[in-house]
Symmetry: C2
Subunit: 503 residues, 2 copies
């Protein structure tokens, strides 16, 4: 027997040890500083320079995880992780992904593992139903869903599909000639600019449309003007990205209005709802997250952010897969199969950039079966209500000015009474103080020159006491970064007009 063969008994023994280690990690995750305190090179210098000689069991790996790796981790599953957006994991998702690793099948074409394709199609339909997405994104007609790794990859993928459609199939043959233009708001995620660069469109052909308010939704009149001007200049308006829940502030672009403008130019409308989209499992948020989706060509949301599905799991839906397949398909002889030739199956390799693909639907399947619609909605509502609690606390302290609130995301700054620069310095100092302490982890953004702290709630282990502790930490840090006199001035300057936008 090949010594590399997986021995079932040995796997069972080591697998139990790893499962136990993970269970213990979750029992103790709260005891770690949220953000790692190591310095650059600390971890590398603890690792041997030469490759290992082999022969080490999983116990040695676990010991090094405890000794070397854990101090070097920023703990995204810590209940006081409030930075970026949450990256939920959960028991069912971890185990679903473990099954995918264990089975080790490739679903690049239907024939290479029919269940990997058909379970994915069905599970993506279930998710569409749970989110109440329009019928056009379900399978059975021209559209359907596919799992990608990230929303970044999704926006690149649909960019290429949009170029294919706008060029009537010529883009992949001729290449680009600077004629195609892409639109998103100044608050859209940086992945749009990255996609435009990778797809060869060029940043000169990316129009960053202003927002109607600082950190707010796209100004559709400005979009219409830009598209009209480009068309008049002989360019081809190709795609508009509507952000449903921007990364900075959670702003929601008006997809329906955007789509109406885009339709005049036959431009592709992609809705990037990477973080916020999954909130639609709770029906009361669908007015926010799903407005206008019936007019969009594609839609992406990430169950790996706020829907308990271990990274990577981006859910990309298209209304008509023809442009996607037209842009992506390459069929050398060694990838031809009888079922593909007959056109009776989905070959997901033609729906994305990669060829190889693992059975990622298993983890989403496991999550949907474990939690169901009620459990998923409860998780989303917990995040929102924890932010209600955070806001109530912040509003009792005049030094904190909340500028934006959307679902489980809050943006705020310190008001020093000494002007914008002083506010920005104090706000960043507060963030660094909290992050350096290890008690919680926040991130920041900048809107029209103003530095804002972002508090994003949604890790499943977060409870009310963690919100209360964050409030305490913020007040204590504020004491250190705002001089006493400034604080008094701030209190005087604070008015009732500081109501947060959005919900």
């Amino acid at each position: 027997m090949n010594a590399a063969h997986l021995d079932p008994d040995e796997f069972r023994r080591q697998g139990h040890a790893v499962v136990d280690w993970i269970a213990d990690y979750y029992r103790h995750v709260e005891e770690f500083p949220v953000r790692s305190a190591v310095h650059p090179g600390d971890i590398a210098s603890a690792l041997p320079l030469d490759p290992p000689a082999g022969g080490e069991g999983v116990e040695a790996l676990l010991a090094d995880l405890d000794r070397i790796v854990l101090p070097g981790l920023t703990h995204w599953q810590h209940p006081s992780f409030f930075a970026y957006f949450p990256a939920n994991t959960s028991g069912p998702a971890i185990l679903g992904d473990l099954l995918s690793s264990g089975l080790g099948v490739q679903g690049m074409v239907w024939a290479t593992s029919p269940a990997a394709t058909e379970v994915e199609t069905r599970v993506m339909d279930w998710l569409a139903e749970l989110l109440d997405l329009p019928q056009r994104f379900r399978s059975g007609g021209a559209g359907g869903g596919v799992i990608n790794d990230t929303a970044s990859t999704a926006v690149l993928t649909v960019s290429v599909a949009a170029l294919h459609r706008a060029s009537h199939g010529q883009a992949r043959v001729d290449g680009l000639r600077g004629q195609y233009t892409v639109y998103c708001s100044t608050e859209a995620h940086s992945s749009v600019a990255k996609a435009v660069a990778i797809a060869g469109v060029g940043s000169q052909q990316l129009r960053l449309i202003p927002t109607v308010s600082p950190g707010g939704p796209m100004d559709v009149a400005a979009l219409a003007a830009a598209m009209t001007a480009d068309h008049a200049a002989g360019l081809v308006p190709t795609m508009v990205v509507s952000a449903v829940g921007t990364t900075g502030t959670g702003a929601v672009d008006p997809t329906a209005e955007i789509a109406a403008v885009a339709a005049q130019h036959r431009a592709w409308v992609h809705v990037d709802a990477a973080w916020a989209g999954v909130a639609a499992v709770a029906p009361e948020y669908r007015g926010l997250t799903n407005a206008g989706l019936e007019l969009a060509d594609s839609y992406a949301t990430n169950p790996h952010k706020w829907l308990l599905t271990t990274f990577d799991c981006d859910a990309l839906y298209v209304a008509d897969s023809a442009a996607l397949i037209g842009a992506m398909s390459q069929t050398p002889e060694y990838l031809r199969t009888r079922q593909s030739d007959a056109g009776t199956v989905i070959d997901y390799r033609d729906w994305h950039i990669q060829l190889g693909r693992r059975f990622r639907a298993l983890k989403l399947w496991a999550v949907l079966r474990h939690y169901g619609s009620a459990g998923l909605a409860a998780h989303i509502r917990t995040g929102v209500s924890l932010v209600d609690r955070l806001l109530a606390g912040l509003q009792k302290d005049a030094r904190f000015t909340v500028t934006h609130r959307q679902l489980s995301l809050v943006c705020l700054h310190l008001t020093t009474g000494a002007g914008l620069d002083a506010d920005n310095t104090a706000t960043l100092a507060l963030m660094h103080a909290i992050n350096d302490s290890g008690a919680a982890y926040l991130s920041h953004t900048s809107v029209d020159g103003r530095t804002l702290l972002r508090v994003a709630v949604g890790t499943p282990s977060t409870e009310e006491r963690h919100i209360d502790a964050l409030l305490d930490a913020m007040r204590a840090a504020a004491n250190n970064v705002i001089p006493e006199t400034a604080a008094t001035a701030a209190a005087a300057a604070h008015t009732a007009t500081d109501e947060p936008a959005g919900r």
Copy 2:
């Protein structure tokens, strides 16, 4: 407590059940037909139309895996899986990946989990050492390695870097204008054409260079002529992909000669050694796999194919990360960190398309520690020696003509004595007979109009008896697809000149 919280005791119980299920799967994997026998829609129709109500434990999922999913899987870990290339998984890799899922950290920038970055850098250096890659691909200088999902993504990524370098940074700003040309042989993987389409280069600017023999290495004189002609026409020769181990036949392009030609045009040289590259863990194959690498700009090989590391794990190395980072970097305020601003750390998000990234280095770390250089080399040698055994068997039967052999890949066809069309028909019929039987799984390719069966060995569970069984199945199937008289003619026509090329 949020009901979505991971309960350690419940996770432990369910995790053990999943580990046991996987162990049982490996105990019984050989009993399944290799290729699934289901028809399109069979699996989907066994799944409920409506999303689950929730509340199901992992036991229900495992029961449905047994009942619905397993019959719909093509078993890539089956010892008689010989199609495509192997997609190795292994105990250490499965458990390393489980740890990554369990920790649920994001390594998009250094600060979001320093260990995720620094372990990856070190483990990629170890792999470079184990493969004896040139110093330029190690960290510490301008170069280094990064884990991607697939070699397809890797070739897209370096295409964008090559365009950035060739355009002196203008490509990402201006977009493309049809001026950049890319080169690979007619036998290169279809991912090159896909990358060229996605990156906006266009297939008209992709030069498919002929090979020196059917299914053989690139004709470098033809490459030189094409690059010179393009340059004379005012185009910019931008990148050449040298295939080390083509997918069809395992051919190895002459990287050093290619690089010498490319250097005249300052074109980027990417070596795509997706499958064959990892063979370099055994020193005797380095002359084949590593020749000329010291002249290449980038190099990719997939531990997830033949090096026991569960998909997805493509190892991409660049000699100088400047062009990669220059092409990929996007830094909105919310992704700025103090360490990144100081330039003292690697932020891998600038090395690839995605922003989010899981801790994939854990599985490669686990594999290298478990097997070590000797264990990995033994695994590679097992695959090669099993193919020696297969070849010896094939050579005793005049009906089988072996056209190519490289490492653990063999290409062959049936010789009917009735001409090419009859050979092709019989060869495909033999493949379908074996695949339909479930006893083994082969794939095919086509070289200059001739249909070839591909037998790719390398699954860790494959033993000599599986090779012997394959030979028996092939002989039996040949009896059915070649008429008796033709077989006699074939035997007469068979000569000693049918030696396979390569090794």
